[in-house]
Amino acid sequence: MSNIAIKPPSQSGIVNWMKENLFSNKLNTVISIICIYLVVKFLAGVVDWGILNAVFAADASACKAASDGACWGVISEKYRFIIFGTYPADEQWRPLLAMVWFVGLIICSLLRSFWKLWLLPLWIASLIGLGILMWGGVLGLSYVENTQWGGLPLTLMLAVVGTVAAFPLGILLALGRRSELPLIRVWCVAFIELVRGVPLISVLFMASVMFPLFLPEGVTIDKLLRAQIGIILFTSAYLAEVFRGGLQAVPKGQYEAAAAMGLTYWQTMRVVVMPQALRIVIPPTVNSFISMFKDTSLVLIIGLFDLLATAKVAITDPVWRAFYIEVYIFVAAIYFVFCYSMASYANNLETELRKGEQH
């Protein structure tokens, strides 16, 4: 072929970029103009309401006077309650420290250079540390009953402990589901499908209403712990399916080679299969954690004070009742920052891992 059309070198510059991406034909031009109009109008409204006409001081009467602007004063007035719930004010550094520590730990655990074996004992130690910090009663810390826990620390704790504790359980269930022993397979499939078939709220209802009936007389476990157990069991079924995907992605030759070398089942899993499968499942595990983080908001239905519940309580205050939009935006923003950053990370990691496979 002699008459190959050579693509002209793409021109740079903002005008050309706009021509290519916004105004390439008539339809596109119309769409772009409508979109730009709507975006500008929306952003102008948001800036007007949220910044220009907004009241930032914690002064309810000033807020009521400025009827066409946001009242961020409600946040400066209520943020401590929304974030920490009814945890004693003087001791709020403890949940704060616990949160900072765990966010740091999660970030470290997600960075590939930190994927070492010492992460495991560090996690266990951190969970024990979390208990000491939150409950207190030792090391000169005053004792705080867990009915006083609330807000963001509670939300984070339910999600983090839920996922971490569900991790080993999920691995066992996934292995069980792929086991060659029929009875073990049946039990694992039954558990996984039962849990995945019902909404989380039914598991939480079970934890709050039915669970006390299961225990022998005189033994009681408090509501928070029951909800936490429910969340762990619920998450483990979802993680089991994630891990099953990872196990299936390990080529059959790997199992066969391990068997040929005379490794036992558990050796094969520990040294050959798991290290490969776990790498694959990290992005979907993060996604599962994100769902759990969002879903912990359901505990408000059984009467625990998570981040959403404290926000709801904050706006029952008659003085600040009118400014519910600001409070919900504040809480939504907290959820958004956590979920969006983790989701972006999981996406990047997935792309990176896929690239690594192609080499």
Binding site: L183, V198, S202, F205, M210, L213, F214, A332
Partner: protein, 393 residues
């Protein structure tokens, strides 16, 4: 092998034999589960006996003595708990069904927009997806509910958006045709016409395979449905009476109503689920190789034919399984109705167990219903996957 080693070998072969260990492990696990189950159940019976709570499902036939604000079948406080749960189930189905339709529509539009070459349209779609996906759906529901209750005026100052359509903090009211037997018969004829369309399609496809001639069954079917339903309407006396909402005292009478509870649940579930559907649509369309579209255009197919006969059938193979699981998620998430007070299955079960104390029975009923729905859907999925699986040589 020497003689004394033989007996030792028999024992060790039992330990080292994979089969024996397998049997042993299974017995151990099953026994463990049976023991735990027995322990929990015996505790439960003991506790129930101590608290004087009767077991069994006989409470379902007792009089409920509570009212339900929204019911698709007749319900009064004199009706039984069983009927109340039925009302709840129908309400769950109603909100899930509408939610699935709207979420799919919005999801397709957003998913296609996300793939658009138009930069700003694609960015708007991306912002929409990230925003509504990363905020808990419960927070969204509660937000919409609070907004409808506080931002909309009272019925007395309701906004009349269209003639006889009112927006107020009691919900949206709009006129509907007044009750008349004609509508029942129109429904019956509609269903019969749908069966007719299905038969017509079968015949048209067989005809095409036999002779190569196409028959416009879509248009013919549409005409069949519209004409037959319209004729029924005329035959039954062509009722024109409407039921319009009218303000009486502090509230509206007449017309049909979408309650704030229903609306907030529907809006929240729809927006949240549509972000996931948008991503599914996008990855489905991306999964069809570009060559397929090009080849079909080169064969002279029109763009609509390319989409209908080449791209969508292949994309749907990728899209349908995750779509179904999103539909299932939406149905399960509709149980959050309890937070805004929409009388769905879970919410009415909750009322029932608070009144009767029959927690185990009430929870077991709604868990069984959700499990049943999941089971039906996964059976459908298996059937569909088999039907759609690539036939490989």
């Amino acid at each position: 092998m020497s003689e004394p080693l033989k007996s030792r070998k028999r024992l060790s072969s039992l330990i080292y034999s994979e089969k024996a260990r397998g049997v042993f492990a299974q017995i151990l696990v099953t026994g463990g589960i049976a023991f735990i189950a027995w322990y929990l159940i015996s505790n439960t019976f003991e506790n129930l006996a101590n608290q004087g709570i009767a077991t069994g499902y006989s409470f379902l036939s007792l009089e409920s003595s509570f009212g339900i604000s929204e019911h698709m079948i007749e319900f009064t406080p004199a009706d039984s708990y069983g009927r109340a749960l039925m009302v709840g189930f129908l309400n769950t189905m109603k909100v899930s069904f509408l939610g699935i339709i709207f979420a799919t529509l919005i999801g397709f539009v957003v998913g296609v927009s996300r793939m658009s070459k138009n930069w700003i349209l694609s960015r708007i779609a991306a912002v929409y997806i990230n925003l509504f996906r990363n905020i808990p759906v419960l927070l969204q529901l509660i937000f919409w509910y609070t907004l409808i209750n506080n931002a909309l005026p009272s019925p007395k100052r309701a906004l009349e958006v269209l003639p006889d359509v009112f927006f107020s903090n009691r919900g949206v009211l709009f006129p509907v045709p007044a009750e008349h037997p004609a509508y029942f018969w129109m429904g019956v004829v509609f269903v019969i016409a749908l069966v007719g369309v299905w038969l017509l399609r079968r015949w048209a496809l067989a005809h095409r395979d036999r002779t190569g001639q196409t028959f416009p069954y879509v248009w013919a079917g549409l005409a069949l449905v519209v004409v037959s339903v319209f004729i029924t309407y005329l035959v039954c006396g062509a009722p024109t009476e409407m039921s319009t909402p009218v303000l009486k005292g502090f509230n509206f009478k007449g017309g049909a109503k979408l309650s704030p509870e229903f609306l907030s649940l529907l809006i929240g579930l729809t927006l949240y689920t549509s972000t996931y559907i948008a991503d599914i649509v996008r990855s489905g369309l991306l999964s069809v190789p570009k060559g397929q579209e090009e080849a079909s255009t080169d064969l002279g197919l029109k763009p609509s034919q390319t989409l209908m006969h080449v791209v969508l059938p292949q994309a749907s193979r990728v899209m349908i399984p995750p779509l179904t699981s999103q539909y299932l998620n939406l149905t399960k998430n509709s149980s959050l109705a309890v937070a805004v007070g929409y009388p769905d299955l879970v919410s009415l079960s909750n009322t029932t167990m608070n009144q009767t104390g029959q927690a185990i029975e009430a929870i077991s009923i709604f868990m069984a219903v959700y499990l049943g729905i999941s089971l039906v859907i996964s059976l459908f999925m298996n059937w569909y996957n088999k039907k759609m699986a690539l036939v490989e040589r």
